[in-house]
């Protein structure tokens, strides 16, 4: 546990030393989502209908942005080696890095998502449902992303490869996350979607760090 906290604290401190880099995912999120009205036309009814999907797709893409450098920096400067021989289990390292990634690219998205909801004229209730979905769903993106990042560690041009590995795995999160809001808006209970998102979170929290750990041991 101490190791997890030490790695988490270090990653957050590193992010605070490079604030512009740390803000990149959330800026991308807002900019990408606000491009849609220009592309599909300013029809309010249609925008309102596709808003949850837009927000989720943009959240997915922006959390993929920083995956390439998730382990690469630590790999290049030898920090990862020091972590692996320190006696802290590789699973704990993977969990700490995933958590740090979520703090930097999941949490900020949740915070600014109501803004996008207002931009697309979503009802306050729908915005709440969307945020709840993001709270359960974005950690899954970080956990799966960590796995992809560890698998491609040390390869050249790994960014595209990470997307190819991780994006298909993220599709269920996208379906149930955006689906919860759509279901609510047509008068159905969104509970089922949340249960499934929760199940995905449990599954990836249990499985992804173990897979990441195995990938890290191979790559280093």
């Amino acid at each position: 546990m101490n190791g997890l906290l030490a790695i988490l604290a270090r990653d957050l401190r590193l992010a605070s030393r490079r604030p512009t880099e740390a803000l990149m995912p959330v800026v991308f999120f807002v900019v990408a989502a606000s491009l849609f009205p220009f592309g599909v036309g300013p029809e309010p009814a249609m925008l309102k209908q596709i808003a949850p999907g837009i927000v989720w797709v943009c959240a997915l893409l922006s959390s993929m942005l920083s995956l390439g450098s998730m382990y690469a920096g630590d790999h290049a400067d030898g920090s990862l080696e020091q972590m692996l021989i320190s006696g802290i289990s590789a699973v704990e390292i993977a969990a700490a890095k995933s958590l740090a990634h979520w703090f930097m690219s999941g949490l900020p998205l949740i915070v600014v998502s109501p803004l996008l909801g207002l931009l697309f004229d979503m009802a306050p209730d729908s915005i709440g449902i969307m945020m709840l979905g993001l709270i359960i769903g974005t950690p899954v993106l970080s956990l799966l992303g960590s796995m992809g990042s560890a698998l491609t560690l040390g390869l050249r041009n790994n960014a595209i490869l990470i997307l190819l590995i991780v994006l298909p795995l993220c599709i269920p999160v996208l379906i149930f996350g955006a689906g919860a809001v759509s279901a609510y808006e047509v008068g159905l209970a969104p509970d089922g979607h949340f249960y499934l998102l929760g199940a995905l979170l449990l599954l990836s929290a249990l499985g992804a760090p173990v897979a990441t750990a195995a990938a890290l041991r191979i790559s280093v």
Partner: protein
């Protein structure tokens, strides 16, 4: 049971090429071993196996009679410094050392870290991000970890004298000597001759399989 590290029939390959095979050696308390060999003979690979970062393709590596992967107290004694420094560019020397020592379960106060940096002659730059230090200064920051150790440890050092000036080399030799006197052991590689160290050094030679 003595703190003995014993390698038996160690084989390490890189790709299909056999770097060395049937390597036997022992590292006992109070021993200083200079690992020698030509470029590409597998020195770094061997050190990585000893540090537990890589797995040998054959043979066993035991510490106190147990495989190193299962010897819990082995990791608490191990200090491994590789080619890469393990410093983050954006963190200061003190922050980096605090992180590294906490990670290894050896938390130190910032005063203690400061005095270790003092000994290595880089205390005046302790608050700067390490990207603003020279190559040699960065190496000195990393080597300050050795000055923080106070118990007998197993030190696995890959080219510790790299980028150091003469005074730095002498200082690191002193640190290695202190560890050996405490009953620790040191396994290191170096391209510069350190015959003038004034204390006994054993040699372990790796003969490249393709050479001769």
């Amino acid at each position: 049971m003595t703190d003995l590290l014993r390698a038996q029939d160690l084989t390490v390959r890189r790709g299909t090429e056999v770097l060395f095979k049937a390597l036997n050696f022992e590292l006992s308390p109070g021993q200083l071993v200079w690992l020698r060999g030509s470029n590409g003979s597998g020195k770094t690979s061997l050190l990585r196996v000893v540090a537990g970062l890589a797995r040998a393709d054959g043979g066993t590596l035991h510490w106190r009679g147990k495989p190193i992967g299962r010897a819990d107290d082995y990791r608490s004694k191990l200090v491994y410094l590789g080619h890469t420094n393990g410093l983050k560019d954006d963190l200061s020397a003190v922050e980096s050392l605090q992180f590294l020592t906490t990670l290894h379960g050896r938390r130190h106060s910032s005063e203690k870290i400061q005095s270790a940096l003092q000994r290595l002659g880089v205390a005046h730059r302790r608050k700067l991000p390490t990207r603003m230090l020279s190559q040699g200064q960065r190496r000195r920051v990393v080597l300050a970890r050795l000055a923080l150790e106070s118990s007998a440890g197993i030190w696995v050092l890959d080219e510790p004298f790299d980028a150091l000036d003469d005074a730095g080399v002498a200082l690191v030799q002193d640190l290695m000597h202190e560890n050996v006197q405490r009953g620790g052991s040191v396994l290191f590689t170096s391209h510069i001759p350190i015959a003038a160290a004034g204390f006994p050094i054993s040699e372990l030679r790796l003969q490249g399989m393709r050479a001769t």
